[in-house]
């Protein structure tokens, strides 16, 4: 066993390097730039949830003074390209169709045409002159309708992929079905002393980033395009733009702006290829910015769901059997996160026998996009609610029940591999020993706990560290900084080179200025890109040692390194330890500039668990509830900048609380979203929440030199069930459908009291 490394900068809280720009309003986000001669683009969207496009007449729009280009689906080539993204793949034909419909519109708000004009007002007015003739079809607005025998079919060519249900060979809305199983489930349930089975439903919810999608693009006569946009993945945008707009990827450069939130929703493209195509027609730059209603209707969200879970336990609390049937809405095109949901559902527990089936269902709603630990919160809501019911049946403490069944290092994960060191038991023990768990509750209050899991991702990363003659350093990666990763990367360079963190300049490169790097997502930046940064800094250090060896005329291997200084071998004449600054000053005379680089593919990551305790106060006269205390426990491996680690834990918890209590896409019978604005789509505000306490647990991840695990995604997984379990504790009612909004809660409370009065 190696001695734990002592850190000088890792674990400190320096002020982020991009901070002053962001608190003074100087930082440039997607919509903040102006390019000379630029036009403004506006998108015409479908007023129907499901319709065939019979014809589009753009002549009146094109004839409008000030209009420079009009675009419809016919202007773009059909592509069959895909982009690999971890184990998943983005189907660019679907992305292109989703961006601009060709033959059918598949949701209310689906783009059908775009106009570029000298002002946004002219573009909007011209778009309204476009004549689109639709043959309106019955919309499929939910899972139940989608899988009915007489359901309208969204995609006539779609067939169920994977382990199909019997008889599902023809046209269908079930895009895929998969199974996971272990042991003999029926026999295992027969041995259980307690069995609980429930069915749960959740509505579509949006990522809710505050910055709408925005971009500006120019495409010249030579077919070369430059795109400035708000994105989590500049390289994804580059490849998607090339395929969808029909350009050579060698001729596309993407410059990521500062990004105003994404949470998974700013990975696929919605505007950028359109802006390129409009610019190509108009031969002027085109800027496109979404309104909030467009963001709600045509981007994100994550799946609505129907999930049935059955658990069996022995009298002593040992879980022996489980089944789970997951149905997730994909939206208009296949690709819900149901597979990930199935893999995460039972990830916390040692259950010898289980059967899980997962279905990906297309419906006439926006195509879902990744949302923080995609698929896992929905599955955890169901499983952790049933675990809570098992604890109640057994009259067992819910933490003790979870500890008794918790997976640990060496246990086989339900989705296949053996776990390395994981912190599930540590977080549960920390929760049990925390004063929150045993503090008294007031009247009308209840307490709930739930755990959550996410795999975390590795994938491709590159980093460059550039040493300057004054001994300062720049570090460049291809990951947009969505929550403080520049600060973490600067800390890593400071740690490796022994220079103050303030003397490191962390930057985000464009697609020509950084090595290929996968997106900012999957909780991978601090882990995988961080590893590339550490190795690039080590490369600089190795070069500095070689320069010192040259100066001292000794062998490189004989040069030591301590506290940011090269140390000469004992007995070397006239040689004194040299600092980074001292060696950097001599660069020109010892071989020239020093640039460190590293690139890597990380096939694995350190998975992570979190446990949340929620105290909820419920007003039984209105159904209104309020979170009065909340504590997040999470194994983060190693917190590089604890301030931003806590921020991830708090922000994820708040999003999950919103999902649990208020947020939902509300549709009318025609498939029109009725609450496409922040007034009616009710995200948590400051007065809805208490301080969110955090407990950082560090079980080092052996795959990372500092022990870092991904942090960003896990914290959205437990809140749905933690809140619902608190609601159960406060009201005696098990809610199986989200959100726990006042009308739903009030109705259930009144129904329950009517029953008790009647009895």
């Amino acid at each position: 066993m190696t001695t734990p490394r002592e850190f000088k900068y890792v674990g400190t809280r320096p002020i982020r390097h991009d901070g002053v720009d962001k608190v003074t309003g100087r930082a440039s986000y997607g919509a903040d730039v102006v390019w000379p001669g630029m036009l403004h683009g506006f998108v015409l969207r479908s007023p129907h949830a499901h319709a065939r496009i019979v014809s589009i007449d753009t002549r009146a729009a094109e004839a409008t003074p000030g209009v420079k280009a009009v675009l419809t689906g016919k202007d773009l080539p059909e592509t069959t390209a895909t982009i690999a993204l971890g184990e998943a793949a983005i189907d660019l034909r679907d992305v292109g169709d989703n961006m601009l419909a060709r033959t059918k519109v598949l949701y209310h708000g689906h783009a059908v045409a775009a106009v570029a004009a000298t002002t946004i007002d002219i573009a909007r007015e011209a778009a309204e002159k476009i004549q689109v003739v639709y043959e309106v079809l019955e919309p499929v607005t939910g899972i139940d309708r989608a899988i009915a025998a007489d359901a309208p079919i969204l995609h006539p060519a779609l067939r169920t992929k994977g382990a199909a249900s019997p008889g599902a060979a023809g046209p269908t809305n079930i895009a895929s079905r998969l199974e996971f199983k272990r042991g003999d489930v029926d026999a295992a349930f027969a041995e259980a002393d307690v069995v609980v089975e429930r069915e749960f439903r959740t509505p579509m919810v949006h990522q809710g980033y505050i910055e709408p999608h925005a971009c500006i693009a120019r495409c010249g006569e030579d077919g070369r395009a430059v795109v400035w946009c708000t994105t989590q993945g500049p390289f994804v945008v580059r490849d998607a733009c090339a395929a969808i707009a029909g350009l050579d990827p060698a001729h596309v450069k993407v410059i990521p702006s500062e990004i105003g939130g994404g949470f998974g929703g700013k990975i696929v493209v919605y505007l950028e290829p359109m802006a390129i195509a409009l610019s190509r027609k108009a031969q002027r730059p085109v800027k496109m910015v979404m309104g909030r209603d467009e963001v709600f209707r045509a981007t994100g969200p994550t799946s609505g769901s129907r999930v049935r879970v059955k658990l069996g336990a022995k009298r002593d609390g040992t879980l022996v059997a489980a089944t789970a049937s997951l149905w997730y809405e994909a939206g208009a095109y296949r690709g819900s996160p149901v597979g990930a949901g199935a893999m995460c559902a039972l990830a916390a527990y040692k259950i010898p026998s289980f059967f899980i089936e997962a279905h990906d269902v297309v419906v006439n709603k926006p195509k879902v996009a990744a949302y923080r630990a995609p698929g896992s919160p929905i599955a955890a809501f169901a499983v952790e609610s049933v675990v809570d019911e098992i604890a109640r049946e057994l009259k067992m403490d819910p933490i003790e029940l979870r500890l008794k069944n918790a997976n640990a290092e060496g246990d086989k994960a339900p989705y296949g591999p053996k776990y390395g060191p994981i912190g599930l038991k540590q977080i549960l023990e920390a929760a049990r020993n925390h004063p929150h768990w045993t503090s008294p509750l007031a009247a009308n209050q209840g307490r709930g706990i739930a755990v959550g899991f996410w795999f975390n991702a590795g994938m491709n990363s590159s980093a460059t560290v550039i040493l300057d003659t004054d001994g300062s350093a720049a570090v460049v990666t291809g990951n947009p900084d969505i929550g403080g990763t520049r600060a973490a990367q600067a800390i890593m360079v400071a740690e490796e080179l022994g220079i103050p963190v303030e003397r490191v300049r962390p930057g985000v490169g464009d697609t020509d200025g950084s090595g290929y790097t996968d997106l900012t997502g999957g909780s991978r930046v601090c882990y995988a890109t961080g590893m590339a940064v550490i190795r690039a800094a080590e490369d600089v250090r190795d070069q500095l040692k070689a320069r010192a060896a040259q100066i001292w005329n000794v062998a490189v291997d004989a040069v030591g390194w301590e506290n940011g200084r090269a140390i000469p071998p004992a007995g070397t004449e006239k040689a004194e330890a040299m600092t980074v600054a001292g060696l950097a000053a001599k660069m020109a005379h010892t071989g020239g500039p020093i640039v460190g680089r590293a690139s890597l593919y990380a096939p694995m990551a350190g998975p992570a668990f979190g446990a949340h305790i929620c105290d909820l106060e419920v007003d039984s006269e209105t159904g209104q509830s309020k979170v009065v205390r909340y504590t997040v426990f999470q194994d983060v491996g190693r917190a590089v900048h604890p301030g931003y680690v806590e921020g991830q834990m708090q922000g994820g918890a708040a999003q999950g609380i919103g999902w649990a209590l208020n947020e939902e896409y509300i549709y009318d019978a025609d498939g029109v979203m009725e609450n496409a604005g922040f007034l009616d789509y009710r995200m948590p505000v400051a007065s809805d929440l208490p301080m969110i306490d955090t407990v950082i647990i560090e079980v080092p991840n052996p795959l990372h030199p500092y022990g870092v695990r991904g942090v960003g995604e896990v914290p959205i997984v437990p809140p749905l069930a933690a809140v619902a379990n608190a609601m159960r504790d406060a009201t005696g009612i098990r809610f199986t459908e989200l959100p726990l909004s006042p009308p739903r809660v009030l109705e259930a409370i009144e129904a329950a009291s009517a029953v008790s009065v009647g009895a």
């Binding site: 901070g19 505050i210 910055e211 806590e646 708090q650 922040f678 505000v685």
Partner: protein, 160 residues
């Protein structure tokens, strides 16, 4: 279409601009005057990303027409720091890691300035309700509230 000529004061400086009669002040600030620190998150007054002070009163710039700025005093995020010194709110947001993506930050800081202008020593509850018109999706508000309370206490001390 005839543009309107507006004379106003922005961050203490006299400014003139041309705008359409239906143009919002948010659009005039961002597009005409190049003050892009004020952000558009919804254009319906629900998110607070475009918070500004109009004659000292906190308003969302998306719900004010640009011509309404005639003869008034507008304060935006660009007007908060003085010389090379950050406003205490800006400094405390940095120290508390009270921003992640940062796009809501200018609106929060302007709204918090309006709070501290009105009340030197707000409670946590008062701060939460005052800032309830500003949406942040990244932080869960914890560190934002701490930053504002810390700035309030520091400004109170320096005022004594």
């Amino acid at each position: 279409m005839t543009k309107l000529h507006i004379e106003t004061t922005i961050n203490g400086e006299p400014r003139e601009f041309l705008c359409d009669s239906h143009e919002t002040l948010l659009s005039a600030l961002r597009n005409g005057l190049g003050l892009t620190g004020t952000k558009e998150g919804c254009a319906t007054g629900d998110c607070g990303a475009c918070s500004i002070l109009l004659d000292g009163r906190l308003v969302p710039a998306c719900l004010v027409l640009a011509p309404e700025a005639q003869g008034r005093a507008v304060t935006t995020i660009e007007g908060l720091s003085s010389g090379d010194a950050l406003h205490p709110l800006q400094q405390k947001f940095l120290e508390h890691a009270a921003l992640q993506c940062g796009v809501c930050t200018p609106g929060f800081i302007v709204a918090a300035k309006a709070l501290l202008d009105a009340k030197r020593n707000p409670s946590e509850d008062e701060t939460r309700y005052w800032l309830a018109g500003n949406l942040c999706r990244c932080t869960g508000y914890d560190k934002i509230i701490r930053a504002v309370l810390d700035a309030a206490s520091e400004m109170k001390e320096s005022a004594i």
